[in-house]
Symmetry: C2
Subunit: 347 residues, 2 copies
């Protein structure tokens, strides 16, 4: 098995520099780093990583969290889950916001390098859809990565999330069980086809088909997941409501659901008496509104804690980096006040 001596020889670089390039890459210039990485890969050095990782057992671990939209309400709920387990295991956490305009391969790559250089042992990458074509990058980062609230196209990274399609199907199924048939949706903007938010639209549509419910394009309005977007989207649905006669709306986020409720209120209608609303997330803000919000719970706490446990296992176990692909955590329906039952005669 290759040693760093072998790499030094192969790359024609001093042992100290090789060691630095592998362990403190930020202290070495890019060219040297790449020569070392190239040699290391060629000599299959990383099969040795296991030994190195087991040394980690005796040190205090740090994890980096990269997250876009750190100001979105769900961030707090996710972070609580992560930090609870991190605290139990005396793990330090560092947070870095990925600006939405940097949500590209290059942007994610830069963010991973930046955070890695801040001496973390593993990284939780939240809400970033990771396309299959930058496996090189992931390999280069050389510390374990776990995805939360998103997934990797080729399933090569462990991903902790809910099943967006199934949970959205269940939201509609719940409304159907309460007697609703004219069910609209406030969906995420259709810009990024593989992101969670788009999968929620697919779940809605599958349920519409499954239950053979009335449907046309006017049943759906789009927004960018925040309160104001929900308000505007609901306004659009109400503008058509003489024609489509919605009795219930499923919103792809709690923020949009709460915006929709406010819009219904401002239009002189009542939630749930005139229109029922079901959200998606189960943010604490849904308990603060009047009426309180019925919603699909994403178990943010569990998603966060499972991702930390996974990384700890990878870092402290004797190295078997097992468990790639998607880990679906269970969603559930939280019944509050914003959905009413309609009887057959009332329909």
């Amino acid at each position: 098995m290759a040693t760093i001596q072998d790499i030094a020889k192969h790359a024609g670089i001093s042992i100290a520099t090789v060691s630095r390039a592998l362990n403190k890459p930020e202290m070495v210039n890019v060219e040297t780093r790449e020569r070392v990485m190239h040699a290391a890969k060629k000599l299959n050095y990383f099969a040795n990583e296991n030994t190195k990782l087991s040394n980690v057992k005796n040190k205090k671990l740090s994890l980096g969290i990269i997250i876009p939209y750190i100001t979105a309400f769900y961030f707090g709920e996710l972070y609580s889950g992560i930090s609870k387990v991190a605290e139990e295991h005396n793990i330090d956490l560092l947070l870095y916001e990925l600006k939405s305009q940097h949500m590209s391969n290059e942007g994610i790559s830069k963010a991973l390098s930046f955070v890695k250089q801040r001496m973390v042992d593993g990284i939780i990458l939240a809400s970033c859809h990771v396309p299959g074509d930058y496996e090189d990058l992931i390999e280069q980062v050389q510390i374990p990565i776990a995805l939360v609230l998103s997934s990797h196209e080729n399933g090569k990274l462990p991903a902790f999330k809910v099943d967006d399609i199934r949970s959205s199907f269940d939201a509609v199924a719940y409304l159907v069980s309460r007697g609703h048939r004219h069910i609209g949706m406030i969906s995420a903007l259709p810009t990024e086809p593989e992101r969670s938010e788009q999968l929620r639209f697919r779940g809605y549509k599958q349920a519409i088909d499954f239950y053979n419910l009335p449907y046309s394009d006017s049943f759906v309005a789009f927004g960018d997941m925040r309160f104001d977007d929900g308000y505007v989207a609901m306004k659009q649905l109400l503008a058509n409501n003489e024609k489509i006669e919605l009795t219930a709306v499923f919103a792809a986020s709690d923020e949009m659901a709460i915006g929709a409720m406010r819009c219904i209120h401002d239009a002189g209608l009542r939630v749930p008496e005139d229109i029922s609303v079901i959200g998606y997330d189960n943010l604490s803000v849904g308990t603060m509104t009047t009426p309180t919000l019925t919603t699909i719970e994403q178990p943010f706490g569990q998603i966060g804690s499972e991702s930390v446990r996974h990384l700890m296992k990878v870092l402290t176990d004797s190295g078997q980096v097992t468990g790639k692909g998607n880990f679906y955590l269970p969603h559930k329906i939280i019944e509050r006040e914003s959905v009413s039952e309609i009887t057959l005669s009332a329909k």
Copy 2:
């Protein structure tokens, strides 16, 4: 003026190690670091820092943000202000949550060291009341620190915040201008006398005295700043309300104000028709409730952006580290739906 050569000679350590201890302290053991610091201080080396700082001009800056209660709603608002300016100036940000149980001198000290070691050029320390007696620590950290939403007892650190006493006085004055005289308060727990939250109670009490309003201990209930606390505190105020006849309540945070509104609703009363509520913060969630929340705005965005601008100035100007003490940013009253006017005849 002393050079690092002088320090090396004085401390009996190699020049390279001195340089490392000053510039990359995390790479040097504690003992060596302390020897170097001791010699550096003795030789008045830091008068030279100006030169070093001006070199910073040519490098990409990073700032660390240390914040407790990262899951509180106001975090997002504050971070937005910080990140907007940071982005304009291509500054990287790293976030670290200080657990509330570590909110001690030792805890803050550890957090500052941890973040500093992550290669940041300056630190924003949010919502941590900094007692005067750890100036040593601050000196040891050796990178600029700015406080936001809190202050330093001896005023030796720049602090960006609102004037809690005056803004709370103004909240009561606003209610008085709307015809209210029986005004209660939902205040923070009286555990930490010098924290912002306690200053708000003082502002309330000053206004009560100034306007000669009715008052007894039953006019005030306490909570820990969150939604549920506001709910419970309001319940306590309502239990005494036959006696004290409150027509308005000032809550020391928007979250508590929203909890209070919900409690009033659940008691079968209406906001603002039966009881008016004014909050404190101006969080976006206050636009999502029904009725929307009238509140005192803390200019979180401005507080965040001013703290970044200050640190940039310190880091890139040719070194005059001016501007210590408190910088008060202007609060204002945001009028929405949760306060009604009562006429003299109705009182």
